[in-house]
Amino acid sequence: MTLLLLSLFFFIFPQKAYAYLDPGTGSFFLQVLLAALLGGLFAIKIFWSKIRIFLGEMLSRRKKYGKGEK
C-alpha cells in the first residue's frame, strides 16, 4: 500500500533540477497529493451533510403537516 502510493506519487511529480530545496519539499509534495484526495472526500462530506439537513427538514415539515391534519 505504502509503496504503491509512493510510486504513484513520484510518477505524478517528476523531479526537475531547478533549485536546492530543504526537507520541507517532501512535506509539500505529500500535502499536494493528499489535499487533492481529501478535498474530494471533503466535497462529498459537505454534499452528504446538506442532503441530510434537507431530508431532516423535509421529515420535520411532514411531521408538522401530519399533526396539523389531525
Partner: protein, 463 residues
C-alpha cells in the same frame, strides 16, 4: 509575580522577521515591523481579530503609543493581554496538547473564511489562559493566496499529531520527546516508534508514515515546485482530515501510582481535613497571587488556594494525575488552576538557541507561595537530596512556603525505606528545621491531628 526583566527582547521571538516581543518597565510588548503591515491591517480590519478574540481563541491586545524597540523597522507597538504563567508542550498532559492542536486547526479554518492563513504551527504559540489553550502570536497570520499550500502542515504534524499519536499508541511519556526536539518530533522518528496498527488508519498512515517517507525521499533533491497548487476545497479537506485524526486520538487514564494516591494514603479522615484547615489558614495569612503547588497530584490542595483567588500552577510528575486534574478543571469550569507535568528533581531546563528560547522553571519564578505537601520525604529519601539543598532550592522559587515534614516513623516513609538501606541519619525534624531556617523564617508550625506529620509556614529571609 516579580519580573526581573525590565527592558530586553524576548529570546523566544527572534525567528520571525514580522516583529518581536520585548519587555519595558516590566511590561511585555510586541513590536510589529513594517514588513508585516499589510497582514496586520488585514487581520484587524477583516473582522478576523474580533471573531478570534470573541471566541477566546486569540490573545487580545491593545495598540499603544510608546517608543519602539527598533524604531527604523517599526509599524506599531501592541500590548498583549498578560499570561500569568508561560508553559511549554512538554509540560502539558495529553488532553492539554490535544486541545491546543484543536485550537490551532479551528483558527486555521476561521482564518480562511476571512482570507487569511496561519504561517506556522508551533505548539509554543499556544499558551494556557484561564485554564484554556489560546493562540498568542498575533504575527502568525498572513493573507491567503488561492492555490497556495498550508506552509505550516509539516510543523503541525511534528508539533501535535506525532506526539499525540505516540502518546496514544506507544507510551504517554513520549511527549518528553518535545523537550529534546524543539521543532517537534521528527516524523521519521515518530514513524519508527509507532506500532504497525497505526499504518492501518488512513490519517496516521498518510500524515505520519507516508509523510516521513516522502520527507526522506525528497531530502537533498532538486524539485520544480511551481505549478503545484492546493485548491481552497483541498485545503479545507486537509484541515478537516487532520482535525478528525486529532479528535479520534484518545488516552484513557490508567491507574497509576500517583493518580489514585488519595485512595491509598495513611491519612485518617480527621487528619486530612485538619491538614486542609491548616493549609487554608496559612494561605489566608498571605493571600498570594501566584501559588505553585509542587507534587499537586490531582489538585486537592491546589483548589484550597484557587478558591482564594490565587492563580495556581499544579505541578506533578505523573502524566495521569496531571490529566485527571486538567479534565476536572474543564468539568468544573475552573479557570485559575493550570495543571502541568514536572519532575522536580529534573525541572524543565532552558532550551533552544543559547538555552534561552524556552525558559527554565526557575526563570519563570519565583511564585508568591509554594505548597510542598507530602513531598520532602520523596526528595530526601527517594532521591537522596540533602535537606539543605532542598531548602536552598525552595528559597529560589518562592517568598512564602507551606511545607509538610513527614517523619521517619510515618508508614509512608517506612515504605520508601523498606527496599533500601537507611543512609539518612539526618532526616529528622530538628535537622529539617535548622536547615530551612538558614533560608527561611519559620512563622508557624502545626502538627496534623491524628498523625505525626507537621505543616510549617515559612517566609524567605531577605537576601
Amino acid at each position: 509575580m516579580e519580573r526581573a526583566k525590565s527592558s530586553a527582547n524576548i529570546p523566544a521571538s527572534f525567528r520571525d522577521p514580522s516583529g518581536f516581543l520585548f519587555y519595558r518597565d516590566g511590561l511585555l510588548y510586541r513590536q510589529i515591523n513594517l514588513t508585516y503591515k499589510e497582514n496586520y491591517d488585514h487581520l484587524m480590519s477583516s473582522g478576523l481579530y474580533e471573531t478570534l478574540t470573541d471566541g477566546a481563541l486569540l490573545l487580545a491586545h491593545q495598540e499603544v503609543d510608546i517608543e519602539a524597540a527598533k524604531p527604523d523597522k517599526a509599524y506599531k507597538i501592541i500590548k498583549p493581554e498578560a499570561i500569568s504563567f508561560i508553559s511549554y508542550p512538554y509540560e502539558w498532559s495529553f488532553s492539554q496538547l490535544k486541545d491546543a492542536a484543536l485550537v490551532r486547526l479551528e483558527i486555521q479554518k476561521r482564518s480562511l473564511e476571512f482570507g487569511m492563513s496561519l504561517k506556522d504551527s508551533s505548539a509554543y504559540n499556544i499558551q494556557f489562559r484561564k485554564g484554556r489553550p489560546i493562540f498568542v502570536d498575533t504575527l502568525s497570520f498572513e493573507k491567503y493566496r488561492e492555490g497556495s499550500p498550508w506552509v505550516a502542515y509539516r510543523q503541525f504534524c511534528q508539533h501535535f499529531l506525532a506526539p499525540l499519536t505516540l502518546m496514544t499508541y506507544r507510551d504517554i511519556r513520549l511527549n518528553q520527546l518535545l523537550r529534546v526536539h524543539i521543532d517537534g518530533v521528527p516524523l521519521d522518528l515518530a514513524s519508527s516508534l509507532l506500532p504497525f496498527r497505526t499504518r492501518l488508519k488512513f490519517p496516521l498512515l498518510s500524515h505520519l508514515h507516508l509523510h516521513a517517507k516522502s520527507q526522506k525521499h525528497f531530502a537533498h533533491k532538486a524539485i520544480d515546485m511551481s505549478g503545484r497548487k492546493v485548491s481552497r476545497l483541498s485545503f479545507l479537506g486537509l484541515i478537516d482530515n487532520l482535525e478528525s485524526a486529532v479528535r479520534k486520538l484518545k488516552w484513557r487514564v490508567q491507574r497509576t501510582e500517583w493518580a489514585n494516591y488519595y485512595e491509598d494514603t495513611n491519612y485518617s479522615e480527621e487528619a486530612l481535613s485538619h491538614k486542609k484547615e491548616i493549609v487554608a489558614r496559612f494561605l489566608e495569612e498571605t493571600t498570594p497571587k501566584m501559588v505553585w503547588d509542587l507534587g499537586a497530584n490531582v489538585g486537592l490542595f491546589s483548589r484550597i488556594a484557587s478558591k482564594r483567588r490565587a492563580q495556581v500552577i499544579a505541578f506533578d510528575i505523573d502524566p495521569a494525575a496531571v490529566e485527571k486534574n486538567y479534565l476536572e478543571c474543564l468539568k468544573e469550569g475552573e479557570t485559575n488552576i493550570l495543571p502541568l507535568l514536572l519532575d522536580l528533581t529534573d525541572p524543565s531546563p532552558g532550551i533552544g538557541w543559547e538555552n534561552a528560547e524556552r525558559e527554565s522553571l526557575l526563570e519563570r519564578g519565583p511564585a508568591d507561595a509554594v505548597l510542598a505537601l507530602a513531598l520532602v520525604h520523596h526528595l530526601a529519601i527517594s532521591n537522596n537530596l540533602p535537606l539543605e539543598k532542598i531548602a536552598d532550592f525552595f528559597s529560589k522559587i518562592c517568598h512564602w512556603l507551606i511545607i509538610e515534614f513527614v517523619p521517619k516513623s510515618d508508614s509512608q516513609v517506612q515504605r520508601l525505606l523498606s527496599t533500601r538501606e537507611d543512609i539518612f541519619p539526618d532526616y529528622r525534624e530538628s535537622v529539617f528545621e535548622n536547615e530551612f531556617q538558614k533560608f527561611f523564617v519559620i512563622l508557624n508550625c502545626v502538627r496534623i491531628r491524628d498523625s505525626e506529620r507537621r505543616v510549617y509556614f515559612m517566609e524567605r529571609r531577605p537576601k
